[in-house]
Symmetry: C2
Subunit: 347 residues, 2 copies
Amino acid sequence: MSNSENSQTPIGNFGKFGLLDHLTRNVSIKNKGTVKGIGDDSAVIDTSGELSLVSTDLLLEGIHFNLIYTPLRHLGYKTVIRAISDIYAMNGVPGQILIGLGLSSKFSVEKVTELYEGILLACRKYNVDLAGGDITSSLTGLTLSVTATGTVEREKLGNRDGAGPNDLICVTGNFGAAFMGLQILERERKLFSRDSGFKPDFAGFEYIIERQLKPEFPANVVRHLKEADIRPTAMIDVSDGLASDLIHVCRLSGTGCRIWYEKIPIDLETSKAAEEFQMDPATPALNGGEDFELLFTVPVDYADKIRDIPGVSLIGHMTNADLGYKLINEEGSEITLKAQGWEMSEG
Amino acid sequence: MSNSENSQTPIGNFGKFGLLDHLTRNVSIKNKGTVKGIGDDSAVIDTSGELSLVSTDLLLEGIHFNLIYTPLRHLGYKTVIRAISDIYAMNGVPGQILIGLGLSSKFSVEKVTELYEGILLACRKYNVDLAGGDITSSLTGLTLSVTATGTVEREKLGNRDGAGPNDLICVTGNFGAAFMGLQILERERKLFSRDSGFKPDFAGFEYIIERQLKPEFPANVVRHLKEADIRPTAMIDVSDGLASDLIHVCRLSGTGCRIWYEKIPIDLETSKAAEEFQMDPATPALNGGEDFELLFTVPVDYADKIRDIPGVSLIGHMTNADLGYKLINEEGSEITLKAQGWEMSEG
């Protein structure tokens, strides 16, 4: 997991402020909206008259990530992606993140530094300032809370409830990759736990494993939409699964939907992995989750404009509510979409 | 801990969105700045041209609270106080909070509802909107993350680094109460754990126990300062201990300080409890933490104006940095103040 298992520095060597100082000593403020970052009671943000967006997520070891196969740098990176995807989903621009960190004594300063390297790498790439946070000890493992803030012009605010019947359903990227990447990682972990001489083999699945461990967000699509002056009627980031998030938009908008299976973008590696697990690729694509793609709807006259945006696919259209939530499969049959249930794990 | 141990509803009975809906079904938006609250990718806040403030805290079971003697309603209430105190400490007005919740399966819907009742009670009292959050399962116990947002007029922003030599050091309320309340609770818990027939006795310590379990924040002082048109040169909420937070302001401002022991406000119950534990009351007052009081500095000409504000005490003054951080005791001797170390617990 770490390149430097030798000579690890116990966290207790630093005081609370000392550890925060150490982790954030190279943090510089990039966005002019960040009036004050780390080191005061709260971050101070100048939204210059735009609306302020705030979102928070909680990530727990053993629930959201397994450190056996998750490098801490990647975990830090993904934490930022998860946070800013909520801001993009409001048609906004992320500006700042704040990180809350709960650490058990198994984490050395070096390991926490790796986590922060990943956080700061994503911050640089997505032009976001690390602007504050909290750090505390934990009895069990790693707890991460992340708050993202951003801004949006008043008249461009994205909604989840504005889709109308006949609006086109558009998505970015492809679906099910992160879920199948996780299945591959879990399969190899189980084989390794039975036989420590076993060499995990990820050949041919590099892309979907990267989608699981170090995803990106299609920020450029949000920019393209703005440049093309397209304001989606509804917008959501797909993190709970395509079916679940689409149904969520339908419910709030009071519509039904029809999507075509053959139009749902699925990467070849995702299909190949699904085959190895004897799954229909539609299952991870519709219900996998953690895709960090964008789903949005636009009026039907925007079809040509949308086709011009790279990385966007049209997968169907909204309908009147009484027509329900339907997937049309390759044989032309209608299958009712279901939002995946959410299960509390035991603990 | 709960009034309704019978007929508890497992959390698994609700889906993720179902549980959030259930917990927040009575939440109504009060502040006109809250454009969108719960139910979208992020909260949307209109700061009307003022600066936006954002702060986040992480609270973990076994580290920050013990559910043996902490009613969940009180824990919810205190979580809000902790969050908004960071906004007040910037001379701002809190407007919204977002709650992240990690729940193990030992928590029933009824128990989580109690937690939310406390959160919403504090929100009503301090005129704050619950505007979003996250909810997830946890392997071990209760994890709470809380993000507070607020606004401050550009020219009234509070700083930690603006104190000058000779500025007066002002504090609200009294110190050490929450810490001694915790000692009493812990003492009774230990006695109870040895003999389950033991009846915990809190008589005479009601006030300091309330300060530990269900604290308030002196929001009225922030209002009084505004009405009296006093802009503190530096400001911090005292949560890590009076000595530690005062030294923090001194370091950032490049000053030293002198405070008088006899001027530090200490409640009679705090002194009485300290006596029972054979402690000098100065110890909890200076190093106890969780006071949720405000410390601020003002130029010396404001002395009379400050004395007019109820609930504020003058405890000393800033000095040049080379004079260090000094407490003058009752005999007139100088004692060097130390910031309490921060220890990572084992885990």
